[in-house]
Symmetry: C2
Subunit: 399 residues, 2 copies
């Protein structure tokens, strides 16, 4: 399997966003959410943080808290935002664990769910599964340390192993935007819910998610990927403690500068959601929804003009955040070659780099395309896509 991260990184090296031309290679393999930059620019100084040399020096943020490296202002900001959006249960009995992105927290959750004091030769590794198509980095993130505690066991739909397993439920799903539930549902199973994209700009918020371990990430929520802040909302105290232990051993906590800034930005978003004023800009999620919706419209037009591809169809749902029926506008487009061609290869011929279906555990006629690139790149992409003609171009654009 091609390493998804590696292919994204190496392809990033060939792209020069500042000098786009008809010949430029466009990288849509990675989900770098830089398109939200325009919004944060509009907000001017409202989200600015100032940190002097003497600030944020100690390892400790809140020694009395179970998660001793979590800054109290970030804890508050996370809970307030979830309450404002209505997308996750964050009652006083839930524990927040902060991580260096949700990537680190995914590994902390695997550790917490499989930790044992047994000697090595008595350990049976727990199987880790996810329904295909699954996020392309799960297999490698699970296996790269060669842990005796857990191992990647592939597609949850075809999982037939005995004993302990962990199912990762990604909803909305990366790559295809589908709303997901657990599929194995056997005794002894444990669940990690990756809710990175369960925000109003991507999908209607239909209910307050309330699962054992829920992962969120600042990068997909607001676009600040470089900040590397993720958080887990955890029901069970023992599991939360083990996740904190993982974070201690893995990196002795999480950057305070990043926590401080994330807290500030999340507070501004919550404030604008809860206390809108006529002369303020729209809140971040409304903005995101408009931008994503425009992009999806352009993409669907290009797919129609081409005739060579199809896209998933999403049904409208009532969104409790916006208070109206709302479309899904996923962060990725899951594009299919109608003729069953290798879709990633086909697009690379047109200098569009995507992440092919095989990375996600499915066939190569599908490929994943980031919908979060800068405007200029996105517009060039849809232009090129529309110009790709299939040998049979009169089919439906949905499947």
């Amino acid at each position: 399997m091609v390493s998804a991260t590696q292919s994204a990184v190496s392809s990033a090296k060939v792209m020069q966003p500042s000098s786009l031309s008809a010949d430029s290679v466009l990288n849509f393999a990675r989900g770098d959410p830089t398109m939200y930059r325009a919004y944060w620019e509009k907000l001017g100084d409202r989200c600015t943080v100032v940190i002097s040399g003497k600030d944020l020096m100690s390892y400790f943020s809140d020694a009395g808290n179970l998660c001793w490296f979590l800054m109290p202002e970030l804890d508050r900001a996370i809970r307030r935002l979830h309450r404002a959006v209505g997308n996750a249960e964050v009652g006083e009995d839930r524990f927040i664990v902060v991580g260096t992105g949700s990537t680190q927290l995914f590994q902390a959750a695997l550790y917490a769910l499989t930790h044992t004091d047994k000697p090595d030769d008595e350990i049976l590794p727990t199987s880790v599964v996810a329904a295909a198509p699954f996020y392309s980095s799960y297999p490698e993130e699970t296996d790269f340390q060669r842990s005796k505690l857990y191992k990647w066991a592939g597609d949850a739909y075809s999982y037939e192993g005995e004993g302990a397993y962990i199912e990762v439920v990604t909803s909305p799903n990366n790559p295809d935007g589908a709303i997901r539930e657990a599929v194995v549902n056997r005794e002894g199973g444990k669940l990690i819910h990756d809710l990175a994209y369960y925000w109003p700009q991507y999908t209607p918020i239909t209910r307050k998610a309330d699962h054992d371990i829920m992962l969120f990430t600042f990068s997909k929520a607001t676009g600040h990927a470089g900040t590397r802040i993720g958080w887990a909302i955890v029901k069970d105290k023992e599991i939360a403690m083990k996740m904190v232990k993982f974070m201690e051993l893995s990196s002795i906590g999480v950057s305070k500068e990043s926590q401080f800034r994330a807290a500030k930005i999340l507070e501004v978003i919550s404030e604008d959601c809860l206390n809108p004023e006529p002369n303020k800009v729209v809140n971040f999620f409304e903005y995101g929804q408009v931008v994503m919706s425009e992009r999806w419209e352009k993409l669907r037009e290009a797919v129609k003009a081409s005739g060579a591809f199809s896209l998933p169809k999403y049904t409208q749902n009532f969104c409790i955040f916006t208070g109206k029926d709302t479309d899904s506008n996923p962060a990725f487009a899951w594009l299919k070659s109608k003729e069953g061609l290798n879709c990633d290869d086909l697009l690379r011929e047109h200098k569009i780099v995507t992440r092919g279906g095989k990375n996600f555990g499915v066939c190569p006629s599908l490929t994943r395309i980031s919908m979060l690139s800068p405007d200029e790149e996105f517009n060039l992409f849809v232009e090129r896509l529309a110009a790709i003609k299939g040998s049979n171009s009169n089919g439906s654009t949905n499947y």
Copy 2:
């Protein structure tokens, strides 16, 4: 074994630095370097960073660099500082890999040195050793993931295993401040040099260190532990690439806010070292040296007054940074009970929490005491220490 991190964390919870009294429990188990705060306060706005909502959004810092998430300004600042201090070789052919503290980089180095494409059942785990007394977190950091690639194998002095091994060389050593070299020296051995304390405030800089993998950390260099920035200087390109790969899989890079701030602070230090001006405050290392030297003097006086303890003796050496013969003033005191009592227990009876010898692979008559606590705590500590009387109090204070 008591978890060193856990004991530091749980003991931190009982300390209330703002309300110290004769009854207060003093936590000297952890190495939280908050005592440098006074210096950074003196510098006023010179190290202040301002980050607006639109800044530092992308995952990528320098897509053309091997370490694609390393900010170019931090790369430059690290190299400039090492050149100013003379403590490590950072020629153009050396690779810098940034991490979430040197803790994460230690694990990245283990991964890079043992990575293989072999199937699980063909892997022989590489032994990881360090000469006792060794840093108390190495065993747990090595083993917590239960990797098939490597395993903790204890004291390097007594290591008799066959085949591949990794020796961690910590110099100056944590906990005892000793200058160290590799002790196993067998074919097939690989080395990780942990040089966290190889800075002029702790030890004379006697030569430019030049090893395969050298780890440094911002927290011990400048006192900014909460920033979670460490860096590795790596000779071999393949090893550097694997360490970068580890960082990608572990946390998709490192906080940009932290990198940005670390770059700023390291630049200010370098500038003050290279271009001193009469009306400027002394450079950070000179300040650190004075403070550490005063503390060691106070500690030695207290140990003498008590009579129940002894401390290691360090020889003066010519420091190429200061240009004169200089004492060692380690970040930790490695205190011994002259009567062979459990030193950690003895101090806990006097409400001084330390980290006992067993955590470092040696006997409990020794214990480690942080020399980096706030002034008020340090002063109360030496006062209490001086008052502890042994049954025989006329011996030497050095061993």
